[in-house]
Symmetry: C2
Subunit: 86 residues, 2 copies
């Protein structure tokens, strides 16, 4: 949400994602104008991804999803004890 990240960095931060899926989703996010792709001509090649200005309008949505996740991270545990927190 704040920094730019390289392809390989994203690979590491998204456990078990395949190269194909990561590339495919990044390409779609780019096509939808949500993510900006910047190519630095060099050897080895360096490509950086970041949220576009438009993509940053999604930050509040992502934040509320993330907040919810942090408060309810039972990872598929027993549903019968599931309830509101704080």
């Amino acid at each position: 949400m704040d920094s730019t990240m390289r392809f390989s960095a994203l690979e590491k931060r998204i456990p078990d994602v395949t190269q194909k899926m990561l590339a495919q989703h990044l390409r779609e996010l780019e096509n939808q104008g949500i993510v900006t792709r910047t190519i630095h001509p060099s050897v080895p090649p360096k490509v950086e991804y970041s949220l576009s200005e438009y993509g940053r309008t999604l930050v509040p949505v992502l934040q509320s999803m993330c907040d919810w996740g942090r408060n309810h991270n039972r990872l598929g545990g027993d549903m019968s004890v599931r309830q509101m927190q704080s």
Copy 2:
């Protein structure tokens, strides 16, 4: 988010959803404790769905997603003119 709804009412409000998909998703939401299923024994049968107390913790998330959608409902239009609103 606020009212209870019957199966057929949900069918009408979700365009093109198939019976199979609606039933399948409702069953999963029920299993995850997000939706409450209430059966009224009568003829014809009457089943009502509503958000559980736990499910209501998702309201802020749904709201922010909905808000974003209302402000950016270009329905897949030209990406090149896509930008932040207000």
